[in-house]
Amino acid sequence: MNDPIKTGLAKGWRHIDAATLTEDQQFEADVVIIGTGAGGGMTAEILTQAGLSVIMLEQGALWSSSDFRQQERWAYPHLYQDGAGRKTKDQAIAILQGRTVGGSTTVNWTTSIRTPKPTLDYWQAEFGLDFSAEHSLEPYFAKAAGRLHISEWQVPPNPNNAALKRGCENLGWQYTVIERNVHGCANLGYCGMGCPLNAKQSMLVTTIPAALEAGALLVSRVSARQFQWRGEHILQLDAVPVDQHYQPTPSVKLRFKARHYVLAGGAINSPALLLRSKVPNPSGRLGKHTYLHPSVISGALFRDAVSGHAGAPQSIYSDQFVWPKGDEAGFKLEVPPVHPVLMASKLTGMAELHAGMMQKFNHLQVMIALLRDGFHPDAQGGEVQLDADGEPVVDYPLTDYLWRGVQQAYLAMAELQFAAGAEAVMPVHQDAMLYSSWQQAKTAIAGLPLKTYRAALASAHVMGGCNMSADAAKGVVDANGSHYQLQNLSVIDGSVLPSSLGANPQLTLYALAWRNADVLAARLRG
């Protein structure tokens, strides 16, 4: 099968696997980009095409379609941050992030949604950020849609998504058919393990190949450790290779010098690099306000097979509850792909109880509710801290306000699942059981303890930590991603978001990156 990366490398694309280096080395370019995900990948293409020399750094390896295996036991350790074992400090929320060339876009589920209007309004009101009229992101959404083949998914939803649609129809709830960034998608359902067909238009198969084709250098299996800076300028970036388990290892010292540095390591890792570098932080916001869209899970048994592993993982969502009238926590309803490891580790219980549920694997329909954190004073997100090894860990407090949202989400999902024809529903919570009617579920959910570790919580959307703001006192970077204190540093990734989005992040990040990379290119050329 065609593998555009292997083909490109064979014709001489510049790639260095840092883990193979045996001597200290220094590299120079106009721009060094740290991280190759949504922000870094998009920026790399735009800057190289503007004629700038670019080096892309990535902690993960250069895996591509002919390496991908449709097996979680391979994908999680090799393509995910911390081997997919990342968790908040108290271990209450599991965090999925990509760590491979293409970042999270290589393993994401292809859902593409524009930034919701109420989110932009909130940014304007709270942070003075103006994305209206001539500052609108609309032209960039359109450009990104063109570049990444984003369009409405025309294939009927798989039964997992169809249940969400049916439930909404029966209850009169809002739902939307999802737009996906795919081209030639065979509807396999393995997006989370790397698309074997290069159908998903991730950074790995679009902007990164374009940047390499235009002469950029990619250094993989390298971990950016620290900026050396003086006054208002970064002087150099220190980095080390990673070992076969992607652990940073000081076997050699690598030094990168550039006119400008673009930080695109994603939320959590970008603020961590700045914290390690002890950069000025007069707003006090660096690493703070890290948002997760904490996601609540509900399983349901259907008589007919659901086979949630097959077919486009996400094709329907419901915004029925995302913008409530009151000030309670809103949540977006979606479904995840259902594969054995993801399911086995998230399902509560053990021994016979757990085994029994796993045996009904193909009849299990699974819903997730993504809590919209970051808009309410009692949902101000988590804080990135550094452990003894300088690695990040997010301290994320679950407030009473969020717990009430968790309960509302369990209720909404159970109601929807019964409306879609479920025979039984089980909120994924240590104290929950299989409930056979909506009435029974409703009563039981009201009594479920709202406590850490009782509710299974997960996140695949990490945002914030280097938030943008029009006012330097309330942000780390400005609306263009320029760092307020260091002149030759921009942050272009999910860490700049000043709240969660209430929508899946990738399209917002592509648009912002395109816009801010354009601004940066003009500045560096001018």
Partner: protein, 170 residues
């Protein structure tokens, strides 16, 4: 009994926290073998309990499944952040030591000498403990072990799950 057990658990957790900082640097490369032994000991005791009902039917298949799952856990651990690895090594260490084992489990017997029922009770008591540390231990081990088991294609039959293969893997 219940109450005494709780106090013991508290002592053990206190000991873990107090010694945690000094234990961490103690684990060096040279201790890798010892660490693997501690981990294997604990995994071999807990896997047959957590996987009750999931394991294949015949004795030979069960042994095979337990061994390959233990290996899958050991192979996966180095991908976790060093901090998380150290925490797990500590837990394995404590559970394999005589004194702390008594405190953590409320039994004088080694983990492997408890009945499967007792091992499950032990895990449940951690789940429902008021000590954060034990709740974390329950959640962490449960996830780690179940993920390792269901990650193996050999165990997908019971799920009627198959994954497409575009070439031979290994």
């Amino acid at each position: 009994m219940q109450r005494r057990q709780f106090i013991m658990l508290g002592l053990a957790a206190g000991a873990t926290l107090a010694t945690g900082l000094t234990l961490y640097p103690m684990f060096s490369e040279a201790d890798k073998t010892q660490q693997q032994q501690n981990a294997s000991l604990v995994l071999d005791a807990l896997l047959p309990a957590i996987l009750l009902g999931a394991l294949p039917k015949t004795e030979a298949e069960q042994q095979q499944a337990l061994q390959s799952t233990r290996q899958a856990v050991l192979d996966y651990l180095p991908f976790l952040p060093k901090r998380q690895q150290a925490e797990l090594q500590q837990l394995f260490f404590l559970l394999s030591q005589q004194l702390t084992r008594l405190a953590l489990t409320g039994h004088l017997l080694a983990l492997g000498e408890l009945s499967l029922e007792q091992r499950l009770q032990l895990l449940s008591s951690w789940r429902d403990s008021y000590l954060t540390l034990l709740q974390q231990a329950y959640n962490g081990l449960r996830e780690l072990l179940l993920a390792a088991y269901y990650g193996q294609p050999a165990h997908w039959q019971a799920l009627a799950y198959t994954a497409p293969e575009f070439r031979a893997y290994e």
